[in-house]
């Protein structure tokens, strides 16, 4: 059944948290950079490299490949502080969260040696190659396909909603390697390929996003040759591998912290105004802080469960589903409290963040698996007890 055990951080874990905070204060002092909203924060290769130097990337990956053999909780502690700071995590985010771990889990020795050290040093940026124009929540219905050709595969198809494909280096593509007609179940015959985004035949085109930014891309693969040594895991096992990859995407602090800085900046503004605290602000902050408090503990509990060998897929789906809704509620609450139209002429930190948050908040409950899909995943874990009182 569903289980969330409260976590008590060890003194080493508390120490790590203190170190990360000190690192951020030194490297990114308040006012020295434009903070971002959670994982949507800016791409800054230099900052990613610094994180790598400090051992804050690939934390749970093996030391043999440049990682640090640390735990999911250690990684949680680091990313929670990075996100809460609005640090520019865009370059390494996907590589550190999921591409590195899946390569470590399913990759060949050669692939681990080739990719993991550069992921851990913050050099490489990865993309997620899952969604397609006609396949979103029904992911197994994808039509991108790879055909065997000599010592490799020829990939054809298109991926969509791919963050920063025009900036990043590699993409892990889920594609069909056995024709749909030749398998009983659509989840069979799928494979994952590690594809060089600079390879001939790969074309990444930005799709202008709702806030006018252009990080979102469509990626077209036109007869792209992928050598055998870039097949990730086993041919035909793509669905299972991909499902395991999704587990890394869900339940972490990136799923409830996206709008946190609005609250902090609002309080900074209100404090400098120096007036008495209105009760409406007490209500807003009381609600928000209670929710950050409990989401932090629930999300941390998922990380500890992973370290203890559990597979908290249901728990992480529940956390992501409610965490992302809370992210939206927090935006709504701050906008309602201020009760004035956001305007682009406001270049204050709060003003900038508000505009981005107001425009991009619908994506919080969509990216990384829609809340509808998460609910159906979680519902499978809600089993009858067989005993009613």
């Amino acid at each position: 059944m569903i289980e969330f055990r409260p976590v008590e951080l060890t003194s080493a874990e508390r120490q790590l948290r203190t170190e990360v905070i000190e690192f951020l204060k030194a490297e990114l002092p308040l006012g020295s950079f434009i903070p971002g909203l959670g994982m949507n924060a800016a791409i800054d290769r230099e900052f990613s490299r610094k994180l790598g130097e400090h051992g804050y990337l690939g934390m749970a990956l093996p030391t043999l490949y440049g990682g640090h053999d640390r735990s999911a909780v250690d990684r949680f502690i680091v990313v929670e502080q990075l996100l809460r700071w609005g640090a520019p995590v865009g370059h390494h985010w996907v590589a550190d969260r999921q591409s590195g771990p899946v390569i470590a889990k399913f990759g060949t020795e050669a692939q681990k040696q080739r990719f993991l050290p550069d992921i851990c040093s913050g050099e490489l940026g990865f993309c997620i190659g899952m969604s397609e124009p006609d396949s979103g929540s029904d992911l197994a219905s994808i039509s991108s396909k790879a055909t065997k050709d000599g010592n490799g595969w020829v990939l054809e198809g298109r991926k969509i909603w791919t963050t920063s494909a025009h900036e990043h280096d590699w993409i892990i593509v889920l594609c069909r390697t056995t024709r749909r007609d030749d398998v009983d179940d659509k989840r069979q015959g799928l494979s994952q390929l590690i594809v060089d985004l600079k390879a001939p035949g790969v074309q990444a085109t930005p799709i202008p996003f709702i806030d006018g930014t252009a990080d979102f891309c469509e990626v077209v693969f036109d007869n792209v040759f992928v050598p055998d040594d870039l097949v990730l895991g086993e041919i035909g096992q793509g669905w299972t591998q991909n499902t395991s990859e999704l587990a890394y995407e869900r339940g972490g602090p990136d799923r409830w912290l996206s709008s946190y800085l609005l609250l902090e900046e609002l309080l900074r503004d209100e404090a400098s105004a120096g007036t008495d605290v209105p009760t409406a602000l007490l209500d807003l902050v009381g609600d928000a802080v209670a929710n950050y408090w409990v989401l932090h503990h629930l999300s941390l509990s998922v990380a500890r469960a992973i370290d203890q060998g559990g597979a908290p897929a249901i728990e992480s789906s529940l956390v992501k589903e409610m965490g992302t809704r809370f992210e939206q509620d927090a935006v709504t609450a701050v906008l309602a409290y201020l009760d004035e139209a956001p305007n682009t002429s406001d270049r204050s930190t709060l003003g900038r963040l508000l505009i981005t948050a107001a425009l991009t908040q619908p994506s919080f409950t969509i990216r990384g698996g829609t809340n509808e899909v998460l609910r159906s995943v979680a519902a499978k874990g809600l089993r009858p007890s067989g005993v009613t009182r």
């Binding site: 569903i2 969330f4 409260p6 008590e8 905070i21 308040l30 929670e80 809460r84 946190y260 609250l263 902090e264 900046e265 309080l267 900074r268 404090a271 605290v277 009760t279 602000l281 007490l282 209500d283 807003l284 902050v285 009381g286 609600d287 802080v289 209670a290 929710n291 950050y292 408090w293 409990v294 932090h296 503990h297 629930l298 509990s301 728990e315 529940l318 589903e321 409610m322 509808e372 609910r375 159906s376 979680a378 519902a379 809600l382 089993r383 009858p384 007890s385 067989g386 005993v387 009613t388 009182r389």
Partner: protein, 344 residues
């Protein structure tokens, strides 16, 4: 030691499953409590778990006491265990006053109590008063606090009940202190109110867990359109909401109990009250919607839990006050320290 004794939990659950049945809860309502459940629990010493043996309690940790209260919530047991273990009995024990064999209750509304000279006065609603052997009062005057242990013949009790039919009686007191057992203690009224609020948090989390499970069970048994209603996505939304409400409340309760075990839990208890109140609104609404008409009948047990949840949320302070307390504390630490404060 940061967990309850598993054997204790198992024993309490077995006892409640046997005694505190659907019929017993129904029959308890006109009386305002279940005497049979109280007797069974008291015979085993459970209502005094968490109070030191040296002061007349049963021993055990705050984690043990919370585990018993969680079971009280999970079984909708109409008994004054929270008041005896965590608040009223705790006050008597801390003051070195005798703990009676029977139930202890406590005056929760601190603003209703006046102590002028030797005269103690209050007129307020007190949980379980008509069944309590002692009513504990924490009275503050001239900077010192006094615990008073009142007998039922020293007050006037008019029966009343909460939404769940649990005794919530009007108690009027106008008494010279020299006529009562008293002792001066070093306890603040806020520490008493926090313990009271925590008791409701823990009980509500237990009840929300039962509600969530009951909703899953019912929707898997109930067939419409030829299949269990739990297989409909529209219904699954309710199951998810009920489950999320239960896990949020339980985590809030667990962290708040742990904080109290370590010392100052004023922030955690206030935050937990905010979370639990929201969880009660969302969880009970989702559970009732998923149950359809069956859930609003007396013959089906959902109301034993939902009515209690709707009643408990109003006890030991209002949600508005607890929320503002969280807001005040959070604003006071300053924006730079806000996150460390919220997510520690």
């Amino acid at each position: 030691m940061s967990a309850a004794d598993p054997l204790l939990v198992e024993t309490v659950e077995r006892l409640l499953a046997n005694v505190c049945t659907f019929d017993e809860i129904e029959h308890a309502e006109p009386e305002g409590w279940s005497a049979a459940t109280w007797t069974a629990l008291a015979d085993a010493g459970f209502p005094l778990v968490g109070i030191d043996e040296a002061t007349g309690g049963s021993g055990g940790t705050i984690f043990d006491a919370a585990a018993i209260l969680s079971a009280i919530g999970r079984f909708a047991a109409p008994v004054p265990v929270a008041e005896t273990a965590l608040t009223g009995g705790w006050l008597l024990a801390r003051a070195g006053l005798a703990l009676p064999d029977g139930p202890v209750t406590v005056v929760d509304d601190q603003s209703s109590i006046t102590l002028v000279g030797d005269r103690l006065q209050f007129d307020t609603t007190v949980a379980w008063a008509r069944h309590a052997e002692r009513i504990a009062v924490l009275a503050t005057a001239n900077g010192s606090t006094t615990v008073v242990s009142l007998r039922s013949d020293q007050v006037t009790v008019t029966p009343g009940s909460n939404l769940a039919g649990e005794a919530r009686d009007r108690v009027v007191c106008n008494l010279a202190l020299r006529q009562a057992e008293t002792n001066i203690v070093d306890i603040t009224s806020s520490s008493l109110v926090e313990r009271g609020a925590l008791s409701r948090v823990v009980m509500a989390a237990g009840a929300l867990g039962a509600v969530a499970q009951m909703t899953v069970d019912y929707t898997n048994q109930r067939h419409q359109f030829g299949k269990p209603v739990a297989t409909f996505q529209a219904v699954q939304l309710h199951l998810i909401t009920a489950a999320q409400s239960a896990v949020r409340a339980q985590m809030a309760a667990d962290i708040a109990v742990r904080a109290l075990a370590m010392g100052d839990a004023s922030f955690e208890i206030a935050a937990a009250r905010v979370i639990v109140d929201d969880a009660i609104t969302l969880g009970t609404r989702a559970a009732h919607q998923a149950h359809g008409a069956m859930g609003v009948t007396r013959e089906y047990p959902l109301h034993h839990f939902t009515r209690r949840l709707w009643a408990w949320r109003h006890e030991w302070g209002t949600t508005r006050d607890w929320r503002r307390r969280v807001g005040e504390r959070s604003i006071a630490v300053g924006p730079d320290n806000l996150f460390a404060f919220a997510a520690d």
